[in-house]
């Protein structure tokens, strides 16, 4: 046998999802910048060929360049090896970022804010890595949301974590599938504050996206800043990654995601500022 190239499609009727692919990625075009294709790798599912596990070293780009496939050759001794005759383009994927996340890298939706948007909030996502048995924690000093006019930043909302509400300041959201559209069920996000520092333990619920946000800032005349900045000062211990983003909402409470940052990683347990700046 020379080579076999395949993929697996499936539906999730519980979430109104049809025709998702196990090997998949995300295409950015139109209002989503910068234009690119982000390979996610093998998403959600685990795959075995002849009882041998398949990882992202088997992932190749599809011929149209907007998706992935899985390619392998089987040797005479029944050994499964990635790829075959190398006709396909191997896709190198950063396995530190779980495949299920919507956005692996920074992006901006230039369509937003819409004229009818009246509410803005900054948010953070945290997910544990593969070593879910490892304890991990995040200490958060602050979250701050700014609007920028020229070079002048205006603070719109912040939380210094003198207090924290598990119900109103954060939540535990569905990770498998990751934030499915139209599905908002979540649990309170446990955390405690001490001297203005919020501490959370994402390893307590590795099947959740740990999601917290700034207070909401409302402007019933719409939003007219040149750009926006979401910043969160935090410290990570353990295998957990974090990302910042900004959402607008209109009067009907419909969310318009402005974009999000790259993922940030543990950096020796030192304090770092996670930033999503819409000024590219």
């Amino acid at each position: 046998m020379d080579e076999m190239v395949f993929n697996v499609s499936y539906d999730l009727p519980d979430y109104s999802v049809n025709n998702w692919w196990v090997a998949a990625g995300n295409t950015y075009k139109g209002a989503l910048i910068p234009n690119r294709f982000d390979p996610h790798g093998i998403k959600y599912a685990k795959i075995w060929i002849n009882n041998l596990p398949v990882d992202n070293s088997f992932v190749v780009q599809n011929p149209s360049g907007d998706g992935l496939n899985i390619a392998f050759t089987i040797k005479k001794n029944n050994l499964i090896v990635p790829l075959g005759d190398n006709k396909e383009t191997f896709m190198k994927i950063d396995d530190r970022v779980p495949a299920e996340v919507h956005h692996r890298f920074k992006y901006l939706n230039t369509s937003y804010p819409l004229p009818g948007d009246i509410d803005i909030a900054g948010w953070m996502n945290a997910v544990t890595g593969d070593c879910q048995s490892q304890n991990c924690l995040i200490e958060v000093d602050y979250v701050r949301l700014f609007g920028r006019t020229g070079n002048q930043l205006q603070l719109l909302a912040e939380n210094e974590y003198i207090q924290f509400s598990s119900e109103n300041d954060g939540g535990l959201y569905l990770r498998y599938p990751f934030f499915p559209a139209g599905y908002d069920q979540h649990k309170p996000m446990p955390g405690n504050t001490n001297s203005g520092i919020l501490t959370i333990y994402p390893s307590q619920s590795p099947d959740s996206v740990w999601h917290w946000w700034t207070p909401h800032y409302q402007s019933f005349d719409g939003f007219h800043f040149d750009s926006y900045v979401m910043a969160c000062k935090l410290r990570i211990e353990g295998n957990v990654i974090v990302q910042a983003g900004i959402d607008f909402k209109d009067r009907q409470n419909v969310t318009h995601e402005l974009g999000c940052s790259d993922w940030y990683f543990e950096n020796g347990g030192t304090w770092q500022e996670v930033v999503f700046d819409t000024k590219f």
């Binding site: 076999m4 795959i47 089987i74």
Partner: protein, 57 residues
């Protein structure tokens, strides 16, 4: 969440008279999801283009 496993269907439809590469090489493919996936299909691309429904176990 309890994983849901799917295994390749036993009966494979031959395509254009070509022997299906899975069948001819004794290859089994197993996929496991962390949620209840439905309508799971294996798509084989290339010379032996084929779509095969996978069965839940």
């Amino acid at each position: 969440m309890k994983p849901t496993a799917f295994y390749l269907a036993i009966l494979l439809t031959l395509f254009s008279g070509c022997l299906n590469p899975l069948e001819s090489n004794g290859i089994s493919i197993k996929v496991e999801f962390p949620f209840s996936a439905k309508n799971v299909k294996l798509h084989i691309w290339g010379e032996y283009s084929e779509i095969i429904s996978m069965t839940e176990t």
